[in-house]
Structure formats: structure tokens, C-alpha cells
């Protein structure tokens, strides 16, 4: 599903040029659950953002479902992203001015799903992440774990083929963390491909494969 070869990514500031990713190549098959691990600053988030088409790459090739997307313009990326990829972040990233229901509904609005259908699908996923009873609350009125479950619901509401999660349990205690991991595993069982960045060996154990990075390069891949 994802095939990245010889990827280079630099960050340029006034004085220095940081090499964030250095001739990095990875493959992720459809239906896989991959965990990415490595020390802070080694380029995990950068990689995830590139996979999610939120950031562009400087050199190398990136094929998504056999289509070369490295040179896509912003609009094409948005199109690809909104139909195929869901995101879960460490800091939840819900819109504070929207209710739980409206937050989850948002991706469906951008993919132009009709209102009745939207309601049905949002309710379905909210049911699935067991947050239905809080549908009319605002994010600030929920606990961290609840917020992250809403974020997962939002990521999956469009039935994406790929979910990218950047330290989804980083801000959660172990109970809440395990619930979120449980959810991701269920999604993976239903066929969704998952790439997850994590610092926790415990969480990584839920995955099929662990990619270990150091200084912008893949140093080891272990199959779980």
C-alpha cells in the first residue's frame, strides 16, 4: 500500500540545515499494523506527516497504492487524504468550538456525504467508541481518554484504508491507553492499515511489525 524509496527530508532554517530523514525506504502492506519507534528527534513524526501527505518530501519516491504521489499539488493531496487516510494525534486535536458529534462529522462534510447519511455514520462510530452518550458535549468537557476516543472516531468515520497515529497514547494513563489500543486493533482486524508512532514497548506489542529509527534512518525492523 505504501512504498517509499530513498526519501530525503531537510528542514532549513536561517543558519542550519537539518536532515530530518536520510535516504529512508519503507514498505507497508495492505492490512498491516506497523509501529514506528525511536528516540526523540529521530524523525518519526516527520515520516508520518509525509506518509499522510501533510508535508512534502525533498527527494525520493512515494507510491500510495502504486500511484506516485511525491509531486502531488495541495488539492490532489487533500483529495487523496480525505478519502483514504485518518489521523490520530497525541494531543487529540479536536476543534474546541464544535461538539463531539460535529467534530466527528467534519470529514464527512468535506467528502460531501449527504446529511442523513452523515448522521447515521457518525452515530455508528460514536457507538463503536462508546462515546454516544456524550455526543453533544464540547471537547473541553471530556476526559483525555474520551477525547482520544472521539479523535479515533473522527479518523475512522470515513472508512479510511490507512490510519496514521502519532503517539496516540502519549497523553493518556494506561487504562485509557489500552482502550485506544484496543480500538486500533479492532480496526486493524477489520482490514484497516495502521501506522503508529509510539515510545511505549507495551503499545508496540499490539502491532505486526516494529520499525526502529535513528537519526532519520531505519535501523531495524522486527516482526511482532
Amino acid at each position: 500500500m505504501i512504498k517509499i524509496t530513498e526519501l530525503q527530508k531537510y528542514y532549513r532554517t536561517e543558519e542550519v540545515e537539518t536532515v530530518a530523514l536520510n535516504s529512508l525506504s519503507i514498505d507497508v502492506q495492505k492490512g498491516e499494523f506497523v509501529a514506528v519507534m525511536g528516540p526523540s528527534g529521530c524523525g518519526k513524526s516527520t515520516l508520518l506527516n509525509i506518509i499522510g501527505l501533510l508535508d512534502d518530501l525533498d527527494e525520493g519516491s512515494y507510491k500510495f497504492n502504486d500511484i506516485e504521489v511525491a509531486k502531488f499539488n495541495e488539492r490532489k493531496r487533500s483529495d487523496l487524504r480525505k478519502h483514504n487516510i485518518g489521523f490520530v494525534f497525541q494531543s487529540f486535536n479536536l476543534i474546541d468550538e464544535l461538539t463531539v458529534f460535529e467534530n466527528v462529522e467534519l470529514p464527512l462534510i468535506y467528502t460531501k456525504v449527504p446529511a442523513a447519511e452523515r448522521k447515521k455514520r457518525v452515530e455508528e462510530v460514536l457507538e463503536k467508541v462508546q462515546i454516544m452518550h456524550r455526543r453533544n458535549h464540547f471537547p473541553q468537557q471530556l476526559s483525555g481518554g474520551q477525547q482520544q476516543r472521539v479523535a479515533v472516531a473522527r479518523a475512522v468515520v470515513n472508512n479510511p484504508k490507512l490510519i496514521l497515529a502519532d503517539e496516540p497514547t502519549g497523553n493518556l494513563d494506561s487504562n485509557n491507553g489500552n482502550e485506544v489500543m484496543q480500538l486500533l486493533t479492532e480496526l486493524n482486524d477489520q482490514g484497516t492499515t495502521i501506522v503508529m508512532v509510539t515510545h511505549s514497548e507495551h503499545d508496540a506489542r499490539y502491532s505486526d511489525r516494529i520499525i526502529r529509527m535513528l537519526d532519520g534512518q531505519v535501523v531495524m525492523t522486527t516482526v511482532g
Partner: protein, 794 residues
């Protein structure tokens, strides 16, 4: 999608109530000013446009050239339009108006009708004045026919049907018949008559053969051209027409006429010749520009506050992009948001307009009806205008916000960039430039008005009561009668008083070369007492005196300007020279010092004075002792009712009367002041928003500095110095700009103030002062805060 935008926009407005209030209030006030001015501009431009033949109607005007001067008159003599229509096939029809003020009486109901015109019977064929009763084709055909406006008809006849009823004209009681009633003439008309008397009445009433007297000016003439007539081509035919009709007389009198056409629709706003009522296109432009500036200030507030708050919206933008929003969609979202805010402001401003229209009418000095304002088409136009404002004000913030990269903003490493800050500073400068310019403009206008009010006019107008008998034959008797009223110090009867109308006479005066020089001279008919009563200074010769029998018919007094006009370098040299004026011949007996008999807008013109007992005007001037004014006024009114019982008591005070000439300027000043206050208010709202935002942003910094030992005053200084710098730059930009524009405005006044540097210093200090209050009140609060609190809140 739109629903989602509106929902989030609404919640955002609600969440940040303070900002939203500033935003919406600023916009609403700006829009209100803009709408009111739009209404005013539109009203001024609408004059006389409602006549169906307006495109083919022209005012016929005349230049009168004598060897001495050229007068650009807005009037003609009677035969001009009449014979032009006869001789020139391009002219289909004509109608003339002769304004007058007559006493009209029906039993005990009597009014001095000053909105009265003698009019040709063709009046209603040229102009669309719908008739409620009567036949428009014949109503003004017969002598002593009167057409009334509906309100005049009601005044005299109440609920009765006025048709065919009689009205008494003038004190001599000519009997006239009401032959028609028209709807009241709309406010946006260059002449607003209440009473029209058939022109032919003049022949019967005063034996005035108006169709034959080429030298008797006073008629406002309108001509209707045949369709597709080129007015400039028609104008080229006038010289030949005049030569064939009055060539000989013109040569004889050494007076040359030229005729011109002014399109009816442009007379009010564009004609430099004035008229019954005239506007000023420059003022219309000035106010239009002021309106745009105020709107600009309001929009700048909006842009500034929205971009300053961009950081708070950044996360939302990031998330929306992550879940698939196009940049375009985000842009659209923020634009819809600003349009929504504008529409809220629009609703508030409609309410404000509704409340303010009476006040605005008062300021503008005319009934700009709120009715047309709340006409659906206007509402729609204003609604679209509001949307446009939202669009324009929203577009920049929307582009900034939608350009955020999700990766950057979601990481939270985001801070406002220097470019945005520079832009915000520039915009604040623009706001203050406009505000300071308006303050300086207001100061200059008011100083000029004060200057005109306090200038020594060359005559004394204090405690001077003037009775307006409208030329009553008994004005002299009235004058003698009031002399005995306690408190009356002195009095006089005359044909004119300073600041009012006066006749202009075809005159011949012996000049320095010994020739009889022709000039059109304003003439005051005065009695023996007039010059001392008004304390007008004599510089040579003597004043009229009963000791010289010849003074009543063969004496003239000139002012210094007139003496100069005829070539005398010393006033004494003019004494004893010959004059001939309106059939009277005699000698110059005295020269008076120039006094301002017209407003300070124009230079003092040559003036002649002759002995007369109130010819024409019948004005009785009465000097009253200060403490007796009220009692004396009552006693004088009783005398009036005894002597001329048929006329309603009419009086004014000479000083107020003179200042009435500055009504337009006073209004201009008043409007300017109001808009300057508005501009400052909106700018300060914006400054308030920015400073308070900036202060909250630096909350933590303030805390740290305080922990490290900074005092409250250093922190206030730190926070306010940036903004004060901006205000100072604005002063530097605004001063030369305003100096340039106001010099132009002042150039219209023959006597005016000089713009001194300290006006800008004052305007600047006012701006700095207000800004300082806003800034320090906010920063002191922040600086006084306990540092522990601000540090913990992070």
C-alpha cells in the same frame, strides 16, 4: 457546509465576546456613517431628476458685461426666454418664474408668503407637478389665478375645497381665485413654491409689461428643447438672436448680454451661478471621501483584530486541513465568517440609522427622508454593500489563515510572524492618519467660522432689532411710532440691511478721467439716520442730512471700493462728482469706509447709497438698550398691530441675520465634527482591541519581568511605547495632507485664517491623549497584576 461555517462562526463570535463586540460595533458605526452619507450624497444628486422631461429642460442664464465688470447672473429679463422660444425652432416651450414675497389673506388667516412665484401658464407643461385639482393647461392663464400646494391650501382653507375660492393678495387686497392645487413640491427640487400666481397678474397689478422690458432682470427662465437638440449648438445661435432683437439697446447702454444653457439636472449641484437653492458638489465629494475613510478605518479594525487573533484559529485550520479541507474551503469559511459579522453589524447599523436620521437631518439642514432609506431597493443595495464590506475586510485574514500548514500549527510551535506585525502597524497608522486629519479639519473649519463671526465687519449689529414690513407703505410711520417705545435708543428705515438682499442698479458715475463710467452697483436706500445708527465710518464728505434739500433726490454716497473702481486714489477726490442711477441724477456727497454688507466669503464690493424711505425692503432697524429687549419687543409688536394690522409681525436681530449667511458652513463644520468623533471612536476601538490583545499575549513576559524587578511604570512604558510611536508617525503623515486640502477649502473665502502649525499640534495631542488613555488603562492593569498569578496560568 455553509451551516457548519455559520455554526462555528457564531460560536467563535460568542466565545470571544469582547473582540466580537469591538469588531461588530466598529463596523456598525462605520457602516452607519457610510449609509447616512450615502443617503445624503444620493439625495443631493437626486435634485430635479424626477421630471419626465428633465433631460430636455435647461435653465437659461445670462452674462451681463459692462465696460466695468461682468456679472454671471442666474436670472434673465422677461423677454429673453419668450423671444428665444419664438425665434429659435429648437426651443419647444419655456416657463419663467419671478420669486416674490406677498401678503396673502383669507378672512383672518394671513401669511407673508415667501415661497411665492409669479409663473407662466406653461409651468406645468415643463415640470411634473401633479395636480390634485384644476386643469394644468389653463390654471395659470388668467390674471389673478392662484395655484396652491396642498399644504398651502390646507393652511388657508382647512378641509374646505379651495377650488374657485378667493384669496386677497398684498395689502391692497387684489382679489384672486384659486384655480388649482398641486401636490407639495418634493424636497429635492431647486424651487419649492407654495403659491404660484399667474404671470399675467403682474400686468394688472403693477402695470409691469414683463414681455418687453429687456433690461429688467429677475426672472428665472427654463426652456424645453425639442427632442435630440444639441444644447451647445443651440447656444451658438444666441448671439445672433440677441443682436437681432436688442442689438441697438445693448450698444446704447454699453451693456452686452450673452445667454447660456444649464441642464436642469445640474443646476442645483454644479452651477456656479447659484439659484433658489443650491448645493455644492465639492461638499458632496468631501463627504463621500470621509464616508469611505470611516469605512476604511472600520475595515482596518476588522483586519487587524482578525489577523492578530489568527494564532488562536490556527489549530482549527490545521485540523480542518488534516481531515481533508481544501485551502479554498478554508478561505471561504473565513470569508463567510467575516460576512456574517458584517451582516450583524449591518442589522445594528440599520437600527442606528433609524434612530439617527432625525439628528442627521438636523445636521444636514434638510429633510433627507428616512422613508427612501427603508425602501426595499435601498435595503437590498445596502445589504449587498454590507456583504461586499465583509468580503473585502475578510479576504486578507482569510488568505492568511488558510495558508497555515497543518504540520506547523498542530505542533504548537507557531508564532505570529514579523510581516503580519508590520502590516498591522501600518494599518494602525492609516487609521490614525485619517482620524488626525479629520480632527485637524474640524479645528480649521471651526476656527474659520469663529474668525468670520468675530471679525470686525465695519458696522455695528449688536442689539439691533430689524422689522421686516416687506415693503409696506407705512414702514416710515411705523418707524416714527416705535421711537417712543422705552428702551429704543435710535432707529432708521431702509431698503436693505447687511447680510440681506439688495437691488443692483444700472449706474453711470463720473470717473477720474471725467467720463461717465457704467457699472452695475448694489444700492442701499437709507434715511438720514442709517449711517450713524449702524456706526458706519465716514471717510470723506458728509452723510445725508435734512439740512440739504437736494439730498433726498440728488445725492449719493459711495463706499471706498466703489471710489477705487472709478479710479480715485483718495476718497476726497470723488466728492462732488456726477452720478446717474435709475433716473436720478446728482452728486457724490460722501464716501464711507468699506463694511461687510455680504458674507466674508466674498470680497467687499462697490456699494452706492441713496436717500430713500425704505424703498423696496421697508426694513425698520431699531437699536435697543440691552436690558429692555423683551419689554421693548412686546411694545413694538403692539405698535405694529396698530399701524399695519394686516401683516403678521416679522422681525429679526441684525447679528443673527448676518450670521445666517454661514448656515451652510456651520452645517459643514457640524457634520465634520461628528464624523471626526466617529473616526476617532472607531480607531480607538481598534487600538483598544490590539493593545489588549498584545497585553494578554505578553502576560507571561510581564510576570517574568516583574519577578526580575521591573517596576509598574517601566512595564507600562514597554507596552505602550510601540503604539505611541505609531500615533506620532500618523501626525507627521496627516499634517501636510490636511494642510494641503484645507488650504484649498479656505481659498473659497475671500477673508480667511492662516493655517498655523499649532493646529496640527493640537490635533496630534488630542489623538495622542486619547490613545494614551486607552493604552495605559489597559497596560497598567496588566502591569499591576501579581506576577505569581500570570506565571501559574501558563
Amino acid at each position: 457546509m455553509l451551516k457548519n461555517y455559520i455554526k462555528i462562526a457564531w460560536r467563535n463570535i460568542w466565545k470571544t465576546k469582547g473582540f466580537s463586540t469591538i469588531n461588530i460595533l466598529g463596523l456598525a458605526v462605520g457602516m452607519t456613517a457610510c449609509f447616512l452619507i450615502a443617503l445624503y450624497v444620493n439625495f443631493e444628486r437626486s435634485y430635479d431628476r424626477y421630471h419626465s422631461k428633465a433631460d430636455r429642460i435647461y435653465r437659461l442664464v445670462c452674462d451681463i458685461k459692462t465696460p466695468t465688470e461682468t456679472i454671471n447672473a442666474n436670472i434673465t429679463s422677461g423677454p429673453m426666454a419668450m423671444y428665444a422660444a419664438k425665434d429659435l425652432p429648437e426651443i419647444e416651450n419655456f416657463a419663467r418664474l419671478l420669486p416674490n414675497s406677498l401678503l396673502i389673506r383669507k378672512d383672518n388667516i394671513k401669511y407673508q408668503e415667501s415661497k411665492l412665484f409669479f409663473a407662466d401658464s406653461t409651468l406645468f407643461q415643463l415640470f411634473d407637478f401633479p395636480m390634485v385639482a384644476g386643469n394644468p393647461a389653463t390654471a395659470l392663464k388668467e390674471p389673478f389665478s392662484v395655484v396652491l400646494s396642498e399644504s398651502a391650501a390646507k393652511k388657508y382653507f382647512g378641509k374646505e375645497d379651495p377650488m374657485g375660492k378667493s384669496l386677497l393678495l398684498t395689502d391692497d387686497s387684489f382679489n384672486s381665485k384659486v384655480t388649482g392645487v398641486i401636490k407639495d413640491i418634493p424636497e429635492n427640487s431647486q424651487f419649492k413654491g407654495d403659491v404660484f400666481v399667474s404671470m399675467v397678474t403682474l400686468i394688472k397689478m403693477a402695470n409691469f409689461k414683463f414681455d418687453e422690458q429687456w433690461g429688467n432682470f429677475g426672472f428665472t427662465s427654463y426652456v424645453l428643447t425639442k427632442p435630440n437638440t444639441d444644447p451647445s449648438l443651440l447656444t451658438t445661435k444666441f448671439p445672433a438672436f440677441l443682436t437681432s432683437r436688442v442689438g441697438k439697446e445693448m450698444d446704447q447702454m454699453k451693456m452686452h448680454y450673452s445667454l447660456f444653457l444649464e441642464p436642469l439636472k445640474e443646476v442645483y449641484l454644479y452651477s456656479k451661478r447659484g439659484g433658489f437653492e443650491s448645493g455644492n458638489i465639492n461638499n458632496v465629494y468631501i463627504f463621500a471621501i470621509v464616508a469611505l475613510f470611516i469605512l476604511l478605518i472600520a475595515c482596518i479594525n476588522f483586519i487587524n483584530l482578525s489577523t492578530a487573533r489568527a494564532i488562536e484559529r490556527a489549530k482549527e485550520v490545521g485540523i480542518r486541513k488534516v481531515v481533508g479541507a481544501y485551502r479554498m474551503q478554508i478561505t471561504r469559511q473565513f470569508i463567510s465568517e467575516s460576512v456574517l459579522i458584517c451582516l450583524l453589524a449591518f442589522i445594528i447599523s440599520l437600527l442606528l440609522c433609524l434612530v439617527l436620521i432625525p439628528y442627521f437631518n438636523y445636521l444636514a439642514g434638510k429633510e433627507i427622508s428616512g422613508g427612501i432609506f427603508f425602501h426595499p431597493i435601498y435595503i437590498i443595495i445596502l445589504f449587498l454593500l454590507a456583504c461586499l464590506i465583509g468580503l473585502l475586510a475578510g479576504i486578507y485574514p482569510a488568505l492568511v489563515l488558510s495558508s497555515f500548514k497543518p504540520v506547523t500549527v498542530l505542533k504548537g510551535k507557531f508564532s505570529s510572524n514579523a510581516k503580519g506585525l508590520l502590516l498591522r502597524k501600518t494599518l494602525v497608522i492609516v487609521q490614525f492618519v485619517v482620524s488626525i486629519a479629520l480632527i485637524a479639519g474640524t479645528l480649521i473649519v471651526h476656527r474659520q467660522l469663529g474668525y468670520m463671526r468675530n471679525q470686525n465687519l465695519g458696522f455695528n449689529k449688536e442689539q439691533m432689532l430689524v422689522l421686516q414690513t416687506n415693503g409696506d407703505a407705512k414702514s416710515r410711520i411705523l418707524k416714527d411710532a416705535v421711537a417712543s417705545v422705552p428702551g429704543v435708543l435710535s432707529n432708521s428705515v431702509s431698503g436693505a440691511v447687511p447680510g440681506g438682499e439688495n437691488p443692483v442698479a444700472y449706474s453711470e458715475i463720473e470717473n477720474k478721467q471725467g467720463d461717465m463710467q457704467i457699472a452695475n452697483l448694489p444700492v442701499y436706500f437709507v434715511d438720514y439716520n442709517y449711517i450713524p445708527l449702524y456706526k458706519i465710518k465716514l471717510v470723506a464728505g458728509r452723510i445725508f442730512s435734512p439740512d440739504f434739500g437736494t439730498d433726498t433726490a440728488q445725492a449719493m454716497i459711495l463706499n471706498e471700493s466703489a471710489v477705487k473702481l472709478f479710479g480715485y486714489s483718495k476718497p476726497e477726490d470723488a466728492i462732488g462728482k456726477k452720478y446717474s442711477q435709475w433716473g436720478s441724477e446728482g452728486k457724490i456727497i460722501g464716501v464711507i469706509k468699506d463694511f461687510h454688507f455680504k458674507s466674508l466669503q466674498s470680497k467687499i464690493e462697490p456699494l452706492s447709497m441713496r436717500y430713500g424711505q425704505g424703498n423696496g425692503g421697508g426694513l425698520v432697524s431699531i437699536k435697543i438698550e440691552g436690558q429692555h429687549i423683551n419689554a421693548a419687543l412686546q411694545a413694538i409688536e403692539r405698535k405694529w398691530h396698530d399701524i399695519i394690522p394686516n401683516r403678521p409681525f416679522e422681525y429679526f436681530f441684525a447679528d443673527e441675520f448676518f450670521d445666517r449667511q454661514y448656515r451652510a458652513e456651520n452645517r459643514f463644520g457640524g457634520l465634520f465634527l461628528n464624523f471626526a468623533v466617529l473616526a476617532i471612536f472607531i480607531s480607538c476601538l481598534g487600538l483598544f482591541g490590539l493593545v489588549s490583545y498584545n497585553t494578554t499575549q505578553r502576560y507571561r513576559e510581564i510576570g517574568i519581568r516583574k519577578v526580575l524587578g521591573a517596576s509598574v511604570s517601566t512595564i507600562v512604558q514597554l507596552l505602550s511605547i510601540d503604539f505611541l510611536q505609531l500615533v506620532c508617525i500618523s501626525i507627521l503623515v496627516a499634517s501636510p495632507l490636511m494642510w494641503f486640502f484645507m488650504s484649498k477649502w479656505l481659498a473659497d473665502f475671500a477673508y480667511h485664517i492662516d493655517i498655523s502649525w499649532w493646529i496640527f499640534a493640537i490635533a496630534g495631542s488630542i489623538a495622542v491623549g486619547i490613545a494614551l488613555v486607552v493604552i495605559t488603562s489597559l497596560t497598567i492593569k496588566a502591569a499591576m497584576e501579581n506576577p505569581v498569578k500570570s506565571l501559574r496560568s501558563e
